[in-house]
């Protein structure tokens, strides 16, 4: 019995290769090259071995905040070339297309399990999350926004440090962000830092270390100068696990190391404990807790 008369077009004469313009990421732990979209759909965790990849800012936000609650501000802010640094303009343009971002940090407000918060998420896929004038300015804006609106502030740090192409103007951002955060703190408002891989340089030396509570992702590299620079300076062997989140935790610089998939719950708990929620939020909070209990039982 022949149901169809047409022939199936198999096209087997054409040798088809894998799509070459698909972006792939290399896993340093298991050595596999994995399609970037699959890695990021899997919370930027290697689906083969569980190693953590750097997470794009919007993916991070999607994972942390209540669905649909994020309102971004200053999305369009973009870097100029104040020092006419050679090749800087082209580099920025390239980074924009590659990362689909305007700059290395995304800021805005959102709710986490019903509690309102201000949020800054750095994205290391844009020039290694380096801090130039725009990144600094955006951190200052969101901090002042939080102060003005009496909101807690959560900053996800991921940075290679100050952006050398903007020279001293980048370094200036260290003091600007510090002052803004001090004003936020003076108002008895909560500032939580989440340090992700890598948090280094001028960012570590300024706002990344000023949180009331400092959380880190497992295995994240956190330090001021890189291990190689230090090794060459002190001319001595560095201890094992030097500058990893775990090492810093043991030495008291970090309050807790939290798995990426547990961050939403941890942050929600921290917020719920520190912030006086508005009445409506209390209701949502209680409802979620009740639902949690149901799910567990």
């Amino acid at each position: 019995m022949k149901l169809f008369t047409e022939k199936i077009d198999t096209g087997i004469s054409v040798k088809r290769k894998e799509n070459t313009d698909v972006q792939k990421l290399h896993c340093s732990k298991c050595g596999k090259d994995i399609i970037a979209d699959i890695v990021h759909a899997n919370d930027s965790i290697c689906p083969y071995c569980g190693a953590l990849f750097r997470q794009p800012a919007y993916k991070r936000i999607e994972m942390i905040v209540d669905s649909g609650s994020f309102i971004e501000i200053e999305r369009e802010a973009e870097s100029k070339d104040p020092l006419s640094f050679p090749g800087y303009k082209t580099k920025i343009a390239n980074e924009k297309t590659k990362s689909k971002l305007q700059e290395g940090v995304v800021i805005g407000k959102a709710t986490i399990k019903g509690v309102r918060t201000a949020l800054a998420v750095m994205d290391s896929y844009f020039m290694m999350g380096s801090m130039g004038t725009v990144v600094g300015e955006k951190i200052v804006i969101i901090t002042e926004f939080a102060t003005l609106n009496r909101l807690p502030l959560i900053i996800f740090c991921a940075s290679g440090g100050a952006r050398m192409q903007e020279g001293i103007l980048s370094l200036l951002q260290m003091s600007r962000t510090t002052i803004a955060l001090a004003q936020h703190g003076e108002q008895q408002l909560l500032h939580v830092n989440v340090l992700t891989h890598p948090t280094t340089g001028g960012v570590t030396a300024s706002f990344a270390m000023q949180g009331d509570i400092t959380i880190a992702e497992p295995g994240a590299l956190i330090g001021f100068a890189g291990p190689r620079v230090i090794q060459q300076t002190v001319k001595d062997e560095l201890p094992e696990g030097f500058q990893t989140a775990e090492y810093l935790y043991e030495h008291g610089l970090i309050d807790r190391i939290v798995d990426r998939r547990g961050l939403r719950d941890t942050l929600a708990d921290v917020l719920a404990l520190h912030v006086r929620p508005e009445t409506q939020n209390v209701k949502t909070l209680i409802k979620e807790k009740v639902d949690d209990v149901f799910k567990r039982s």
């Binding site: 019995m1 047409e6 199936i8 087997i12 759909a41």
Partner: protein, 451 residues
């Protein structure tokens, strides 16, 4: 049309890969971290890991699967059974990416996926449904009113329900008052939607379904009936084609109704219309499954065709021009689902590694499985090890062949239900076709002697 991505796992993924190979199509399998060495991963031309073992993060992860399809330039995606096979969102995501989805369009999926809306569409179009509520039953008062017109016993069902969850049978007003809020809450917890509907409970009814196939040009054909009454907790255990012990005129009527239903919702590709056949030979629409079904091989066996191939051809836009009269069945076919479960301990799943396995074979015996000796049956996914499909010239032959094949079947390492299947096949009620959807639970389990 060259590359097919199979967005499923287990025996159905293997089944689809085999047909693709036969047709000369390149195959891409997707797998979760846990399934790296599974048969479907081994057999496909390419395999992509799409996430961790939790299905929500891998086999239900639309984003990952679409990314894999994009990377391997899949022209078609076959969703298989379960997972995303009935997800309108997945279907739309494929469309957006320019990939052909092997299945009906999103509208039909949405319409038929919600049982209550499907029921209402059938009522509107004059198809028979089990007497019951029209519109959502949102309060106990409405529920009691429905009970007044329909009478007891009644079934309360979750609108978004499935898999035997969110269903209660009530025999009087007191029970209704007690159970109604509980079903609503169960529905909300399990399916995220507390709407329920109500139907009369038909005693000793049978589950008869019709395989339909429709192309994208308005041609709809049916491929006869299947009897799926042997169920435990709404899970099918044994299916056969064609349906047994049904009046020829009624059978014709059921088949024609199924085709009309498919046409009415503008259905495309393969689908199954499920009916309840009551003792008085009246039949009622139950639901329509918008995908290939686990038990499709019994239909293939008696019609001598390949439904997966037909699905792919429909997706490629081919014309189903063969007249209905020329679609003829021959013989009788029975499928036994062999599950890794401990029958003695209330059918508790029994995951583990298959240490050794001997499969029956020969004329008329077909085995669809996703496992070989040495493979692990994972506790994270369903526990079916294989389907044994035996086809003979008549039902008696098919039963005898099934029993003989089950005798030859040997599986070591996990508990399985082979002996239970044999006992069902040997039962007099089964031989006479005197079974119904509650037969296993109400009749057979009581007299079945546990080995």
């Amino acid at each position: 049309m060259r590359t097919v991505l199979i967005a499923s796992r287990g025996e159905i993924a293997v089944r689809i890969i085999r047909t693709c190979k036969k047709l000369g199509l390149k195959t891409v399998a997707v797998y979760s971290e846990n399934d790296q060495t599974c048969m479907h991963t081994r057999l496909a031309d390419e395999a992509v890991c799409i996430g961790p073992r939790q299905a929500e993060k891998s086999y239900l992860n639309i984003e990952s699967i679409i990314a894999a399809a994009r990377a391997y330039r899949a022209d078609l995606i076959h969703p298989g059974v379960g997972f995303l096979s009935e997800s309108a969102a997945f279907r739309l995501a494929c469309e957006e990416e320019g990939i052909k989805f092997v299945g009906p369009d999103a509208d039909a999926m949405r319409m038929l996926g919600d049982k209550q809306s499907a029921r209402e569409i059938m009522i509107e179009n004059g198809f028979p449904v089990v007497p019951g509520s029209t519109g959502a039953v949102d309060s106990l008062k409405t529920a009691l009113n429905v009970a007044k017109t329909v009478g007891f016993p009644l079934m309360i069902k979750a609108a978004k329900g499935g898999g035997g969850k969110g269903i209660r049978i009530v025999r009087n007003a007191a029970e209704l008052e007690q159970e109604f809020p509980m079903v609503c809450r169960e529905a909300e917890l399990a399916f995220g939607d507390k709407s329920v509907y109500m139907e009369a409970y038909l005693a000793d009814a049978r589950h008869i379904e019709v395989q339909v196939l429709a192309d994208e040009h308005g041609n709809t054909r049916h491929f006869g009936t299947r009897e799926c009454s042997l169920q435990r907790k709404n899970q099918k255990l044994l299916e056969e084609a064609p349906a047994v012990n049904v009046d020829e005129a009624v059978l014709q009527d059921i088949q024609n109704t199924a085709v009309k239903i498919a046409q009415c919702v503008n259905y495309k590709n393969a689908g199954t219309v499920e009916f309840l056949l009551a003792q008085d030979n009246k039949f009622y629409f139950m639901e329509m499954n918008t995908r290939i079904q686990v038990e499709h091989p019994v239909t293939e066996s008696i019609y001598g065709m390949d439904l997966i191939k037909a699905q792919i051809q429909v997706a490629m836009g081919h014309h189903l021009t063969i007249p209905q009269e020329e679609i003829a069945a021959r013989g009788h076919s029975i499928e036994c689902r062999i599950n890794a479960e401990n029958v003695k301990e209330n059918f508790r799943p029994s995951p583990g590694i298959i240490k050794a396995m001997n499969l029956p074979g020969g004329n008329g015996v077909r085995i669809d499985t996703g496992y070989a000796a040495g493979d692990e049956i994972s506790p994270f996914y369903d526990s079916m090890i294989m389907k044994l499909i035996c086809t003979g010239d008549d039902r008696q032959e098919a039963i005898a062949l099934s029993m003989a094949a089950l005798d030859e079947l040997y599986i070591d390492g996990v508990s399985h239900n082979t002996e239970f299947a044999k006992a069902m096949l040997a039962d007099n009620d089964f031989a006479a076709g005197r079974v119904h959807t509650k037969w296993i639970e109400k009749v057979f389990l009581n007299r079945w002697e546990k080995p």
